[in-house]
């Protein structure tokens, strides 16, 4: 059966050149980079080389890159490391209602530890009101944490403008850049961010490796205590092969992004247009334009996400959903709820996220298979041809400013 992967925001295959670069570090070059001997020496240079590759892609100094085990670790480190280091200064964090759980759940934990957290709402397009953000800053504010792009909708937030506000009030600024690095150009010099989190498996590197940009002079309490690795900023023996893979993936992204992004955008736009034309009562979730070129999130009214995905799966199509059934919790996507998407539509939300391996034929195939699937599920649904309307009030309520 034909297999079409359109879930690149969930994870990506490791690029063949990346795997090739990694392989020697499992066998011949297996040493511990902290070791003095040949086995360690061979490896240390590889790590510093990867550090430069990552730094080049995001335009910062290699000394500002700390390798981690994943994006979630980066977000935990950014938030907890800041709260501890700046506890004399204040205890207030500003973030948004649409962050990844790695930020949101960490914030909820920090609230229990005595932090005050402002969760900024978003509008129906999923965008922030920057005046509201500025107004939320108090003299106790130690951190603003706003993701660069949202994983569910692909919405891109105005990081440079938020950075300018943060700079104006001398508040530290962290951005979860997991969904942008390697997909669209990012520049740590232009964006006034102090901390930015990267995850390898979103850009063709393996799972289990990530990095965090820590601007020079940004005081952080260690998150992982122990050995002196990463200049005493992150303990634990280096995931050498993973780090080499992340470096290589950044190097490749640097070279291919310029051509890949417009190509992927064209495919995504074709898919979006095709769905809207072929199927009635479909809602676009997210901002029409300010979006990653690869992401399309739509709700097919009256039918539930997991059953859509299962039907897709039977046709070899891999996508994802904001339905509770696929979220690992009992509520549908908090991002849909924050955008005040009707609760049934939230359960119906379906994300297609494309990558460099997708083709025109993939899009054509989906556009051919999709309409009968939606129709069949709608015919089965008690909500279709029914006037009952649901409201958004049952969503998980995240505390707001």
């Amino acid at each position: 059966m034909r297999k079409i992967y359109m879930d690149y925001n969930a994870t990506t295959p490791v690029r063949p050149e990346v795997l090739e670069a990694m392989l020697p570090f499992y066998t011949e070059h297996f040493g511990n980079p902290s070791s003095v001997h040949w086995a360690g020496r061979a490896v240390k240079g590889a790590i510093e080389n990867a550090r430069e590759q990552v730094a080049t892609l995001i335009n910062c100094s290699p000394a500002e890159i700390v390798f981690t085990s994943c994006g979630s670790e980066g977000d935990n480190f950014a938030l907890k490391g800041t709260v501890d280091a700046l506890k004399e200064k204040g205890n207030h964090i500003i973030t948004t209602t649409v962050e990844h759980p790695a930020v949101l759940e960490t914030c909820e934990y920090l609230e229990k530890q005595g932090c005050e957290v402002t969760y900024l709402p978003v509008d129906r397009d999923g965008m922030l009101d920057l005046q509201e953000l500025e107004a939320a800053i108090t003299d106790k504010t130690i951190l603003i944490s706003v993701m660069w792009a949202n994983n569910e909708t692909g919405n891109i937030f105005p990081i440079e403008e938020i950075g300018a506000i943060a700079r104006k009030y001398k508040v530290r600024f962290h951005t979860d850049a997991v969904q942008v690095v390697g997909r669209i150009p990012v520049d740590m010099q232009k964006a006034n961010v102090d901390l930015a989190v990267i995850s390898g498996h979103k850009l063709g590197a393996p799972k289990g490796v990530g990095a965090i940009f820590v601007r020079r002079g940004t005081r952080m309490t260690q998150f992982m205590h122990g050995g002196h690795q990463e200049r005493h900023r992150r303990a634990g023996t280096h995931n050498v092969a993973g780090i080499v893979g992340l470096g290589k993936a950044c190097e490749i992204a640097q070279q291919t992004m310029e051509l890949d992004a417009p190509r992927v955008r064209r495919l995504r736009d074709k898919l979006e247009k095709g769905i809207m034309e072929a199927i009635p009562e479909v809602k676009l979730n997210g901002h029409p334009d300010k979006r990653l070129p690869n992401t399309l999130n739509v709700s097919f009214a009256y039918i539930e996400g997991e059953s859509i995905l299962l039907n897709f799966d039977m046709k070899g199509i891999a996508a994802s959903s904001g339905s509770a059934c696929t979220s690992g919790s009992l509520e549908p996507s908090h991002v849909m709820c924050a955008m005040c998407v009707d609760i049934v539509l939230a359960h119906s939300s379906t994300r297609f996220s494309l990558g460099p391996d997708n083709t025109e034929e993939d899009v054509d195939y989906i556009l051919q298979e999709l309409p009968p699937i939606v129709q069949r599920l709608r015919d089965m649904s008690p909500l279709f041809n029914n006037d009952a309307r649901m409201s958004c009030n049952q969503c998980r309520v995240v505390r707001r400013a």
């Binding site: 339905s323 049934v344 359960h347 008690p382």
Partner: protein, 122 residues
């Protein structure tokens, strides 16, 4: 994740639809947890002659709905009343544990439909 039986009932659900002259209708679930099941009964002489369903929900919700209609058809109301959600899950060779409370409500919907029939009759 799902057993072959679940996938069979999910991809080829039995007895989908409504019964225009149903004399018992039951609905359970709510939109917030993402599962709504509606069961339509045609009862004659205390025996379930026909049963159909409509379901908004995940794979488990659709498969249990389909399975419960197959299990109920031809049964007396008293027999059908004894069908439990667990029995439905078992007939499907089991469900993933996280699906056991939210999406395994088809027998409840059947019970509601029987109740509704009895109320209509009373």
């Amino acid at each position: 994740m799902y057993t072959d039986k679940v996938m069979d009932h999910f991809s080829n659900p039995r007895n989908v639809g409504e019964i225009d002259d149903a004399n018992g209708v039951g609905e359970v679930g709510n939109a917030s947890c993402g599962d709504i099941m509606k069961i339509f009964l045609k009862v004659e002489d205390d025996i379930i002659k026909d049963v159909k369903f409509k379901t908004f929900g995940c794979g488990a919700a659709i498969a249990t709905s389909s399975m419960v209609t197959e299990m109920a058809i031809g049964k007396t109301l008293d027999e059908a009343w004894k069908l439990s959600n667990e029995a439905v899950a078992e007939a499907l060779d089991g469900l993933p544990s996280q699906k056991m409370h939210c999406s395994n409500l088809a027998a409840d919907a059947l019970h509601e439909a029987i109740k509704n029939y009895r109320e209509n009759k009373a």
